[in-house]
């Protein structure tokens, strides 16, 4: 299959800012895209943020508290230091009185800002933190394998480690409730599959490992996720809960609350708590593939009334990376991965590949999409 959408004329949604860089996008007669239609028709009407939503939240919290009686923790939450997971932690502890096992996955790319934010939050809330430090030699080799494969979804090594760690801790401590910071307010529009493919498709992962890894990745926390998902979801009854959907959650609210109460400091953009993700989403994806994840984020904000289309367009007109510092960033990434700048550039210039160019279980994942979405297999789970 050739570059997706290469034969289409450029078109951008009349309502949000998704465009034909999403090769599967469909437009109606008004020029409105299928993301907008789907969300307006199926998602927004079900979205309860008023008293009804609050009531749902309270009921959920009750169930969680009950299930955790006599145990060390009643739920589990992954903390990246990012906005959504930080606010969510604040919410469930201070307003719902939950007792989460809070964990953080260190993939070697933490920014100092993220580390500070996690510390302040955890300290102020009087919580204890678990961390999983991924063996750097393995992580590095795994990340390089993805670079060498030429596909867009380079962040799978970080994503997969997060999901595997989540399941490991939940299983170990018998925790039935996974608190997920995914939310409609800022994420109703999903990243196209071509851009950010499933982080748990082991057929794809194993093939890329087989072809491009130089190490056995003996210390990397692989999860036979499908097994765990089915096992935990249906047999052990683990539920995924998204509290941020039951209240009027906005970025403003989150940033204000956190800054005021914890001295939390905001990131310049979503995902910038990881230096790799910052580089990957801010520079690599847009310049190599033309995929600008800001389009997806801003479109969500447009649909939920937090940003105007004009504002989004004006922001998108500027690059997502800082042209003044990008050379330094490029060098930093290359140095950290212990490759030359030339080698990194060669990966940037190599012929493009997509998930379908390697063995994959797409069909199975699409079929199980509802289950997977609920458990949050997409990137949102780590917020």
């Amino acid at each position: 299959m050739s570059e997706p959408g290469s034969d289409r004329a450029y078109q951008i949604c009349a309502n949000c800012v998704m465009d034909t860089s999403d090769a599967m996008i469909q437009f109606d007669e008004h020029g409105v895209c299928d993301h907008c239609r789907d969300i307006r028709e199926n998602v927004l009407p079900e979205w309860e943020t008023g008293p009804k939503g609050r009531a749902q939240l309270e009921r959920m919290a009750n169930d969680i508290r009950k299930s955790g009686k006599g145990k060390d923790f009643d739920c589990i939450l992954g903390m990246s230091g990012g906005l959504d997971s930080s606010y969510m932690l604040h919410l469930i502890v201070t307003e719902l009185g939950l007792r989460p096992l809070v964990f953080h996955v260190d993939g070697g790319w933490n920014s100092d800002l993220a580390v500070n934010n996690i510390q302040m939050l955890v300290d102020k809330l009087g919580l204890d933190l678990y961390t999983e430090v991924i063996n750097w030699e393995d992580m590095r080799d795994f990340q390089l394998a993805f670079f060498k494969s030429g596909v867009p979804h380079l962040d799978i090594p970080q994503d997969h480690a997060f999901i595997a760690t989540l399941y490991h801790f939940a299983n170990k401590h018998g925790i039935k409730y996974i608190i997920n910071g995914g939310n409609i307010s800022t994420e109703c529009v999903r990243n196209p599959k071509e851009w950010l493919y499933y982080g748990t498709d082991m057929a794809q992962i194993n093939e890329i490992r087989r072809r491009f890894c130089t190490r056995p990745l003996a210390h990397y926390p692989f999860s036979s996720v499908l097994f765990h998902k089915v096992y935990l979801r249906y047999l052990k009854g683990v539920k995924v809960v998204k509290p941020l959907n039951n209240l009027p959650y906005t970025r403003e609210l989150a940033i204000d609350t956190l800054t005021e109460q914890y001295g939390w400091r905001a990131y310049p953009q979503k995902h910038f708590e990881s230096r790799f993700t910052k580089f990957y989403e801010g520079y690599w994806l847009p310049t190599r593939f033309g995929y600008d994840t800001r389009r997806v984020q801003y479109s969500s904000l447009i649909l939920t009334g937090q940003m105007t289309r004009e504002e989004a367009l004006s922001k998108l007109a500027k690059p997502a990376y800082d042209p003044n510092t990008i050379d330094d960033e490029f060098e930093y990434i290359a140095n950290k991965l212990r490759i030359s700048v030339d080698e990194l550039r060669s990966y940037h210039e190599m012929p493009k590949k997509w998930y379908w160019d390697y063995p994959n279980q797409e069909a199975m994942f699409d079929f199980g999409a509802k289950v997977l979405k609920a458990i949050g297999v997409e990137r949102s789970i780590k917020r």
């Binding site: 964990f103 953080h104 260190d106 070697g108 790319w109 933490n110 100092d112 580390v115 996690i118 510390q119 955890v122 204890d128 933190l129 678990y130 961390t131 430090v133 063996n135 750097w136 030699e137 590095r140 210390h219 140095n335 950290k336």
Partner: protein, 254 residues
């Protein structure tokens, strides 16, 4: 407001990765050294000490390539120890950006090395690190090398004095029994060492809190207070999260 006590993180490198030990034994993987160095850099720490804990045991010399990468990123003074046996190696380390070079087993093996290094790189850059274990009914402080496996006949305090005579610019006392225990420094021994030598001193092993460091400074005056676990672990589950802080009395009048 004048000379400050030096509050510094101690990084242990094994197999190119960072580890933290307990009593020089059980080790736990803590991450990529480069990332830790970056974060400590951003936190503007006073100094950083880096030890390759297997170099001597494996009879290896320092990994100059990795160390150079670390030095280039660092905006704070660095001390390195592990596998240094010649003044030549010390000079090379200085040239790639290490202000201080530490020897331990090599100094006990051949004390003249201290003088040779002082001659070559200057006394101010020569650090002698003594791994000390308090043991026995009498609570003697015995000297060990090779990751606490080889007991030395020399007594710690005596050798500290000798090292100073031979040209050491700094003595670091590394407590094996307190390593990773976060129970506080061995203050009594610290005072004994302070009373014996005049060169700058640093103590590593036992720091569990800023209060521990404050107590050390109260006990011996302006000093180097090193910490491994404290700046890398957080909470009862020993979550890996890098932090840095100084006690108020680090900025003292002398």
């Amino acid at each position: 407001m004048t000379l400050h006590s030096r509050i510094f993180p101690v990084l242990l490198i094994r197999d190119q990765g960072l580890v933290k030990t307990r009593r020089f034994g059980e080790d736990r993987y803590v991450g990529d050294p480069m990332n830790a160095v970056k974060i400590f850099n951003e936190k503007q720490v006073d100094e950083l000490a880096i030890f390759d804990i297997d170099a001597t045991v494996q009879g290896r010399e320092p990994d100059f390539a990795q160390l150079e990468k670390i030095a280039v990123e660092s905006r704070m003074p660095l001390c390195y120890g592990g596998g240094v046996t010649t003044a030549e190696q010390a000079a090379r380390l200085v040239s790639i950006g290490y202000e201080k070079v530490s020897i331990s087993a090599a100094a006990l093996d051949r004390p003249e090395l201290i003088a040779e290094m002082a001659e070559r790189i200057g006394r101010q850059s020569v650090v002698v690190t003594l791994d000390v274990r308090k043991e026995g009914l009498l609570g003697n402080h015995n000297l060990y090398t090779h990751n606490a496996t080889k007991k030395q006949s020399a007594k710690a305090i005596d050798f500290a004095a000798r090292a100073e005579e031979l040209g050491a610019g700094e003595i670091v006392i590394n407590s094996i029994d307190r390593d990773g225990m976060t129970d506080g420094y061995d203050l009594k021994f610290a005072k004994a060492v302070r009373d014996t030598v005049n060169v700058p001193l640093s103590f590593v092993g036992g720091a569990g809190s800023i209060a521990d460091m404050a107590k050390l400074i109260d006990a011996v005056g302006t000093v180097g207070a090193g910490a491994g676990s404290m700046f890398v672990f957080k909470g009862p589950y020993r979550a890996v999260l890098i932090s840095y802080d100084r006690p108020d009395n680090a900025r003292e009048m002398t």
